[in-house]
Amino acid sequence: MDEIAYRKQYKKKLFTAVTVRSPVARGRLRSIDSGSLPTGYRLITAADIPGKNRLTVFQSHMPVLAKDILSYRGMPLGLLVGNDEEELSTAAERIHIDAVPAEPRFLAATPGPATKESDYRISYGDMDFQKQQAVQVLEERISTPPQEHYYPEPHSAFALRKGREIEVHTYSRWPYHVKTTVAEVLGINPEQVSIQIKDEQTVLDGKVWSSSLVAAHAALAAWLTGKPVLLRYNRQEDFLYTSKRAPVSAQLRTHLSAEGYITAREIDISCDAGAFPLFEEEMLERICLGAVGQHYCPAMNLTGRIVTTNKPPMNAFEGLGTSQGLFISEVHGGRAAYMSEQDPYEWKKRHIKPDIEEEVPRFYREAEAVLPALESVVDRSDYRRKHAAYEMRRKRRSSLSKTIDMSRGIGLSTGYQGNGFIGRKEVKLSKTVRVSMDTAGNLSISTSSISEALQSYWKEMAARTLDISPEQVHFTSPATSTVPDTGPSILARNLTVTSRLLKQCFDAIKKRRFREALPIEIQRSYRLPPKHAWNHESFEGYPFPQSAWGASVVEVEVDSISFELTIRGIWLMISGGVVINRRRLVSSLEEGIRSALGWSYHEILSRGKAPDEGDWHRYHLLPPAATPPVYIDFLEDGNRSTIKGISQLPYSTIPPAFAVAVSQATGLDFDSLPITSERLKELEESS
């Protein structure tokens, strides 16, 4: 946010808002007392909200300001506004909050009070028969930790009241959600609300609904005071009180035949959504589908549930849960291969493309598309030779500490990126683009995406299709007053869905431009293709509008004295449509690899409690300097004109490959991340 520009423009008229927060993780609010405030300053509470005190995502809600029930430490319960930051800070310290604390609930490992709506089930195949075919059972619990987004800029919003209308500036991946939230909170018509959208890189599918909360606070303060209001979290506030990647825990029971084939699988998944499950339906489905994985299983019983705890809302991260689910299925699959005493590559290949007569559900058949990437990454990393050599050494030693030199391991993993929302949700979310050509032949594109890279791609696409100069292609100002509702810009929807709609608009203009008088305006909305029908209960159809595929190998080395963990190399092979700008793609994937490795062994955030000041001081990102040698390559997938989102693939494939590699190097099994040197030492000493 250009805070200085606002200060220059509005000078002393600019008010700043400070969020007053709950001091307890669980409890009841009795009162908030601001004492005497400087003239013009105001404490806004839930009682002042003119509209509805709620933020809604699909069918789920959370209060915009806590009224009586306190559900997590730091939950917003008031807004203090004034025009001098120092005075504001002093006034904030004087605020007295009378709250009755209760015992908070932080752990989601055991099934909690799941709501009926949030339960998710997959059940197919003859479970009893398939269990009888098995000779051994692999049972374990695997879990994944939370992760901080660490946005380039913490959450912020600026709001300006203009009579009966309000204008809000904020970073958001879902501008129309900000608009409807602000309208609902202020009790006004959405037409009275305009949102100016700011662009931001590397938000990892975050800032979807959380920006709407901050924007609603700024708008509420501006509406009630009549002043322009700026609300900006500092980094610590953002870290402590905004949503994180949701932690997941799964109990798995896999039945294996004498030949090592999976015959049946039972999975029970809990996802900790923190105090308020928002976006939970899509997230839970993605976690569950990830946990089903790509290895064919003839009979499956899966139950997934969202569990609420007294943490800040735990929510979307890159892929909305796919990487948590895939971590579970890939690590478990790796163990199943070991248990069957089979080469993990051969075991995986046989399960991705089973040599059987009965019909395999389409969900698994689609996964065969990962095989070229799998074979390529295995070749390039010399996986089979290294795996055999390290396995021989692993079997010879009794424990890591009895090894006198470095111990090595190598892990293999495959994964996918499901672009767009699952099934009919993609249709429910408005996805409209508008393109017009004026009398001079200039093209104007209206979409809420303001990514520079995407705009440059669309410019080239328009210029090529319509045989005009890229300079003739313009984008309308990124505000809800000028662009149509294109839904949330996450899950690579802009790259896949919007690109397709824009191409349809360009083609339509191409057909009509010499037959009709200019100007021409074309609008296109997304329709679900019939082949994308999906029924999770019967496991029929395919959930994603589009998928990209990837395979990773990670090779590690562990010092048997110091337990220092070194990654010797990472290989990532991607089969994900046409490559537009290879250098930019590699750069973006390298960013993803660094964050995926951070989740795997560096970024430590306890899942057993809400983030606190200690976490804030300890939490650090993996610097670019720490990244090991990375080899990335792309495979053509046959469709040369299809552009796909692939940036989630490092998150889906690298953490499980890493965990399996460390297991081979140490002989220890890991049921969760992060795997740090300290944890290795503890595990080795206790084993």
């Binding site: 250009d2 805070e3 200085i4 520009a5 200060r7 220059k8 660490y150 380039p152 800029e153 913490p154 931001e200 890189q201 590397t202 990892l204 500092n234 980094r235 610590q236 520079e452 890279a453 700008n581 250098r583 930019r584 590699v586 750069s587 973006s588 994937l589 390298e590 960013e591 660094r594 964050s595 001081h617 650090h620 990102l621 610097p623 670019p624 300097a625 720490a626 990244t627 990375v630």
Partner: protein, 158 residues
Amino acid sequence: MIIDFVLNGKKVRLNSKPERRLVDILRDRYSISSITGDCYRGSCGNCMVLLQGRPVPSCLVLAANIRNKEIMTLEGFRNTDEYRDIEGGFEEAGVKLCEPVKPALILLVHDLIQREENPEQSEIRNIFRSIETRCGGESTLFRAIHLAAYFRRSRNGS
């Protein structure tokens, strides 16, 4: 407390509490927008400035410590040939940085190639320890820095 210092080549006089942080002074009093007060613990790099020619996080510098010192922010550095070397390197490598991390990276690269004409990988790695960001891929960042060093050497005729 009256404090004289040089900001982006101009002498300035400031009346401030001695414990005020430099990042807040630069933003509030001098409208320096390239930096932000973000982590306030010196780890993110978003408030990086040159103090006596060396990069420092301005959230860790107090007003009392800048008396008679020379401070340069990205706004001032942008007008120099040294900046153009780095800008050229980043453009050539195709690096698209997140805005908040830009000043830190540019000033740190300047400091590095000022000291080392042809920096080694290990020296490049060191500068990343002063910033905290998820932005930027390794290979393009490293290439950008090598190119910036090359442009600097070419301009200096070495």
